[in-house]
Amino acid sequence: MSKEKVQFKSNVVIRFAGDSGDGIQLTGTQFTTSTALAGNDLATYPDYPAEIRAPAGTIAGVSGFQLHFGSDEIHTSGDLCDVLVVMNAAALKANLEHLKKGGIIIANEDGFDEKNLRLARYVDGINPLEDGSLEEYQVHTVPVTKLTRECLKETGLGVREMDRSKNMFVLGLLYYMYNRSMDPTINFLQSKFSRKPEVADANIKALKAGFAFADTTEIQHGRFEVKAAPMRKGTYRSIMGNQATAFGLIAAGERAGLPIYYATYPITPASDVLHELSRHKNFSVVTVQSEDEIAAVCSAIGASYGGSLGVTASAGPGISLKTEGISLATIYEIPLVVCDIQRAGPSTGLPTKMEQADLMQAIYGRPGEAPLAVVAANSPADCFESVFEACRLALEFMTPVFFLSDGYLANGAEPWRFPSARDLREIKVGFATAKDCDNGVFLPYKRDERLVRKWALPGTAGLEHRIGGLEKEDLTGNISYDPENHEKMVKIRQRKIDNIADHIPEQALDSGPEEGELLIVGWGSTYGTIKAALRQLRDEGVDVAHAHLRYLNPFPRNLGQLLQNHRRVLVPEINNGQLVRLLRDKYLVPAIPYNKIKGQPFAVAEIKNKVWEVLNSLEN
């Protein structure tokens, strides 16, 4: 391809797709790292099957990774892609609907042989690369498998080993197309395979071969230039949601001066938090892979009782198993952080797909009146601050706190203008001492003006006391069946949680007028999509307001007023309508639900269309 033919693009969406054993996620994250280092803003969306290795070549086994990057602000992983990279026929069949009309297809033609076509259920061996059905697209076929084997034939590796490097060949090709440096990937390969230098060498060879192939062949798709985005000054890194969650927990432990005790049972999409944390034990982090979800929450409670910050995590099905433990922590009034990395339910549901359907479970899903605080992250990087905030509230208010993330945030990545440790707020933790006794008697359920009790640790002489799941007498904590006392304690525990509203920021608008026709209220991972949609609408002359909630229980103090300031309130959610019910219930506003429940995020266009629909209905 000729080097003069460089086209400038403001943003590009690339989707990589292939067998789940093809190394698609690795290819995607490597391209992401190089793109971040090139200074683009970006957002990613891994879309992979629940089966680790579904039969090779079938639609069920297709794994995808979408990356949206640009020279302008990027808020979503993109609705449709500009470039679709497919390693086999099944990948094309499963992903063609995600490609823009006129978009580029880069296909590994070796993945379209008779067997692959049959496995992808193309009838009678019809090859879509040859039958003219892709006329609306720019199709570039490359014999990736053949070329990779060719470039590695001197290495002495077997065919299977050689084929494992074909993703690197494709990556090299794309690095050329988008003018990316190969260095970060070469460094990565050298470090990852430091004990298997022959594997590192083979992958690097394939990477370079792909790059050279694109440089020298006659493929007519040209080369693209996406300039660095004008982002806020500062130092950035790329971060994924689960990684940010792990870092946020460690940071909270450091700022509170407490060890973190993280106990969990493996579950998609939460396990990567465990994997990340378990690599950082030099930070006084204890990670425990428990025998089950119940043991995880219970041992975290035990650790909190001992003076660590107990944390447990799961996705919806596991959270439901932890329910009784969480309710115990509410009556103990002990710090506990529960991370719910939501996925599509009910039951096992769609384990690798995203959903926001655990909000009600987080707020209400316990026996009895068992209020607690709920905090939700709105982007991969925001997982850091949000989980830090969940830890702060748990420790400062002696309460369990839910931290809500989801599969889209957990595995998505974005550039992060990371904070320095000294800028993180301090978390105040005070333990009870013998001075807290009244006439020699320690009252474990005596409270301060915020209604928070003291944290009395075993090992402190003179404060020996018992706590339990039975209703406790005010102040003493002794078992009490007194009806007046029970009602009083239920109200106190509720007021304590309500009081948190005085210790969190007021709700700010993300954009739009303070008063107006329409306010969009969102929470969680819909943030980027709503933001991108509203920005486009502003360019089209429509200015609606957007508030995105981090604090879901209690709500910020001014939320009611904010809702009143707008004629209508629209609540988009990836569920069947949960926040919308909470808003209607608490503020008696006729908020309009807008729901998508397909295991996928909203598309920007969907939000825009809905806004137009609501605005038009207001005019009529």
Partner: protein, 349 residues
């Protein structure tokens, strides 16, 4: 790694100091009273500081125990005491952590935590009050009730085969397994002491009479008239003897088949008998099922009491802390800024 359970120090409390200000609500005549008393008797002799003792319980009659101990205590949820206690022990290895549980709590609803706790071996002392019945819910069969047991929920007799708690514990690779009973205070005290001294999870099964819903379940082992013939008390390095005047003994035929012999009538001497070795895991398994052996003409096989098995294996908290130490040695103390920054950053100017 320091352990409170073998600390060379003087206790700062007496038995009386362990009595809490709460009225005890167990039924009059319940075996739990004796267990509470023996625990309160033994604890001051262990060289512990009172503020370092924590009792954790689940749900059930036995699980009210922490409320009656003037130490730190947690009454928790059904079946989960050992999970909670594990988290506490790992986060605070210097504490002396006790789990009080029952047969329903630890073997039915909490069975999973019991076996996994034993496998992982945190330094906990589990006191399993086995009364072979559900008391707090007023008399249903439990996972240790014998087949055919008639209860409110099994009027035609239970159709379920019961757990053998000690065989289960041994199967889960427990490092300390013992049995005692509420009505033998001296033996119970000795077993509580041994449990406390063991580093790792100790499982002490205590036969406990529920005089309301399952009265007399263990009468054969506690009544003077029958005790000698039905209870065999184990001592490390000593032959297995029982019966009136200790004239009966257990011999291992072919090294693995227990048979009852009479020392005088069968012409065998003590040296021919099975000599108890509490470090022998295979024989511990035989002991756990001793009473299930078929009568070989010398009467029924007795049940064993005492320490069945004891071995040393790294405790969970020691292993966890060693990894943290080793991570610090290798990586240095955590540097939050370096962690957050990572390996790949770029500047926007």
């Amino acid at each position: 790694m320091p352990s409170t359970q073998t600390q060379e120090q003087t206790s700062n409390f007496t038995s009386k100091d362990l009595v809490s200000d709460q009225d005890i609500r167990w039924c009059p005549g319940c075996g739990d009273y004796s267990i509470l008393k023996q625990v309160q008797k033994v604890l001051p002799e262990l060289g512990l500081l009172k503020e370092n003792i924590v009792f954790v319980s689940g749900i059930g009659c036995s699980s009210r125990f922490p409320y009656y101990m003037n130490t730190y205590g947690m009454h928790s949820i059904h079946g989960r005491a050992s999970a909670i206690a594990s988290g506490l022990k790992v986060s605070r290895p210097e504490l002396s952590v006790w789990v009080v549980t029952g047969d329903g709590d630890s073997l039915s609803i909490g069975g999973n935590h019991t076996i996994h706790t034993l496998r992982k071996n945190p330094d906990l002392n589990i006191l399993l009050f086995n009364n072979e019945i559900y008391g707090l819910t007023k008399g249903q069969f439990s996972p240790t009730s014998p087949e055919g047991k008639v209860t409110k929920s099994s009027p035609m007799g239970s159709v379920e085969h019961p757990f053998n708690p000690l065989a289960l514990a041994l199967g889960a690779d427990a490092t300390f397994v013992a049995r005692s009973m509420d009505r033998d205070p001296k033996h119970l005290q000795a077993m509580i002491r041994r449990s406390a001294e063991h580093r790792g999870t100790s499982l002490l099964e205590i036969y406990q009479n529920c005089n309301v819903f399952n009265d007399g379940a263990f009468q054969a082992f506690t009544d003077r008239a029958t005790k000698n013939d039905h209870a065999l008390f184990l001592e490390h390095g000593r032959p297995l003897l029982f019966g009136p005047a200790n004239k009966k003994g257990i011999r291992l035929r072919d090294g693995c088949h227990p048979t009852i012999v009479h020392l005088e009538e069968d012409g065998v001497s003590e040296s021919d008998l099975w000599i108890h070795d509490e470090h022998d895991s295979l024989k511990a398994g035989l002991l756990a099922r001793l009473s299930e052996n078929e009568n070989n003409g010398r009467g029924e096989f007795p049940k064993a009491f005492g320490v069945f098995y004891s071995t040393q294996r790294s405790s969970l908290e020691d292993a966890v802390l060693e990894q943290i130490e080793s991570a610090r040695d290798k990586l240095g103390a955590g540097d939050l800024d370096a962690l957050i920054r990572g390996d790949h950053v770029w500047e926007i100017k």
